[in-house]
Subunit: 404 residues, 2 copies
């Protein structure tokens, strides 16, 4: 019977928090000194836990057990946003470390741990897990630069551990389980402790370009205007109304980026460039809503004699996770946190998305206080951190025990 | 009987167009080499026309007749936007020059001409006419800079003509008449030749600041959002609907400037900064509409639990022009362009606004092809340029002749 050690879990989380710590948060952008220091600390902890630290060519750090049979891979990422929270992916990595240790103490083998590289997108979102899963080829990304203009190829070449790094075969693992903070308010609002993620949402980015007539804001009568801002306002308002009635329970939509040209008080705007992001666990609904936005654009465009171009410029299909693995997590949650867990959809992307395409994968959420994440205020109550790790380890125990 | 010379009018307009000419437009920003070259050319033309060129301390250039009685002042400005049209204010200045000449040829005295400094706002919109009329004190503007960082005081000091410049007393003039291109599409659309301006609109700038909650666009459910962009969209949409039913025939309103923070695809915007400009010839209606926008902001603010701050940050009262002078222009237009003139409101500001506060003032518009202005494509048909000057001179003749 695996028994995780709450004090050891929290001590390791606190130790990692010191590396790149800033106020209550952390600054550990991928491949910076603090990120590498954090992951070298992890490598030593892996060794202490009887796991062999292995770096792969894109900088993923695995802790591999000395077993022949495929292992259960537990992990997430330990890099942060430019101003990151102390838990984020680190929680999942340290959970893996603690469960591997606790399993060995219980005489069980077969747990591997991973810290995927650059989940936060210093060079590319989910870089490490997407390259490892084969979704992206590292050879095509050599010239990719970070916001300082540093090239990915040069960055990787500067890390001694990566010089002789080899691929880590997928066949070493039979499943992937990722624990993560929710980064949203649902569990905290409901006073619940565990979310079992059944699907990670898909996403469509609809680029919206409104081209009207730039003109003098004083001398152009209202009935002669083709105002790009007012047309955008009419479009976004109609999209919001339509989506409110046609969206599913987990749909979210956001006009996060809006740029007005020329953006001067006395000039009727000639152009608006905006991005509509739609997320939903159901591909058919994503397609329907994106098409609906395009239909609305046509209507407003005709009514106001402006041009509204809409185009899906990025698309990511929903990632349904493994039902049997989720069932194992649900069984453990039901036992250890009765009435305080729920099935969830993840509205954020995680390393589990690419990994789920190559092996059965599952995810577990713990609450984020007030739903805050990607900021220094990000936090989770200690008892919830411990509870999440306990549920995860109970589920994994089931997976490690020989079947009937 | 004053008879303007069409060829001479068009030749002078063409000559001025060469100075700072670029493509079909002109680049004569206030106090640049091309602006000063243009106005020195004007000064010589004034002399040729028997007018004494006189610069005042802020750089206004007057052409003064050698008469004792108060003169009729005709003019506008000859500076341009950074990429300006060839007519704009130059039309009014050259009309004044031609009418002064034609009047002298007809044995009539008493016409003065002016090119006001920096109407286009290199340092301050309507700088010359506002300082001359006493609305602005030049002493308070010494540190004002242009977009190159050049100080107004240094700029004025570098113009030799201004070193010993003295005030030009208001008492030298009994009335001001400004001809200008319409800069809007109304006359051109209607196939008309003359607009007699009865009022220049007033303006209110309502600053709009929406403060919501910046948050993760994936993990924040729709019912937990306080999205600044969607709140702005709802606000602007409601303002547009309310104004459509409550506005007057000449009201215009524009959200020309909209800035979103942080303006990233995957982040629910936390803040929108926008400016609503309202123009109307009626002060009561301006006040009503600005108050209406503030009321709508309160409603949306309460409904969406966001903060919407609205504040009138700039305000300019409407400038009703002199009814008797307008009547004189109307009589001349009715005679020379029967059925092809109209009474108008000016949606743009002009030097006539400050001047109208110190003496009876009037304005006459000629058509702008397709309503275009403040761009290189700005143009007016030659026959319309000539017609406008003829109507102006006919009206002025009435003013110069001894009364009954």
């Amino acid at each position: 019977m695996i028994k995780v050690n709450p004090a050891r879990l929290l001590e390791d989380l606190a130790a990692l928090r010191q590396i790149g710590g800033q106020g209550t948060g952390v600054v550990r952008e991928a491949f910076t000194a603090t990120d590498l220091e954090g992951r070298r600390w992890l490598a030593r902890r892996f060794t202490d836990a009887g796991l062999r630290p292995v770096w792969d060519p894109v900088g993923n750090l695995f802790g591999l057990p000395e077993t022949e049979k495929p292992a259960v891979l537990i992990g997430s990422h330990s890099d942060s946003q430019p101003e990151g929270g102390w838990l984020d992916g680190s929680y999942g990595v340290v959970c893996g470390l603690e469960i591997a240790r606790a399993a060995q103490e219980a005489g069980l083998q077969g747990i591997a741990v991973v810290s995927f590289a650059d989940e936060e997108g210093t060079f590319e979102p989910l870089l490490g897990s997407r390259v490892w899963s084969g979704e992206l080829a590292l050879s095509t990304l050599q010239d990719r630069t970070d916001r300082m203009g540093r090239k990915l190829a040069d960055t990787l070449a500067s890390v001694p551990e990566l010089r002789a790094a080899k691929q880590v075969p997928h066949q070493l693992f039979k499943a992937y389980i990722e624990a993560h903070i929710e980064q949203g308010p649902v569990l905290d609002d409901a006073g619940e402790a565990i979310g079992v993620v059944e699907t990670i949402v898909g996403m469509q980015h609809v680029e919206v370009v409104v081209v009207g007539d730039q003109n003098h804001a004083g001398t152009t009568p209202m009935d002669r205007r083709h105002d790009a801002v007012m047309s955008f306002v009419a479009f976004a308002h109609a999209v919001d109304e339509a989506f409110c009635s046609e969206a599913g329970p987990a749909t979210v939509w956001t006009f996060g980026r809006v740029n007005v040209t020329p953006n001067a008080t006395s000039i009727i705007p000639g152009r608006v460039d905006a991005m509509l992001q739609i997320r939903d666990p159901d591909q058919a609904r994503l397609n329907h809503l994106a098409a609906r936005a395009q239909m609305i654009a046509k209507g407003i465009s005709a009514k106001r004699s402006v041009e509204i171009r809409t185009q899906v410029v990025a698309e990511l299909p929903p990632a349904p996770l493994d039902a049997a693995l989720a069932g194992t997590l649900i069984a453990a949650a039901g036992r250890l946190a009765p009435g305080r867990w729920r099935r969830m959809v993840s509205g954020a992307l995680h390393d589990a998305v690419p990994v789920s395409r190559i092996m059965p994968s599952a995810m577990l959420f713990v609450p984020s206080i007030a739903g805050k994440s990607h900021c220094f205020e990000e936090d989770t109550r200690s008892e919830d951190l411990v509870q999440g790790c306990a549920v995860l380890s109970a589920a994994i125990e089931t997976l490690l025990l020989p079947g009937p």
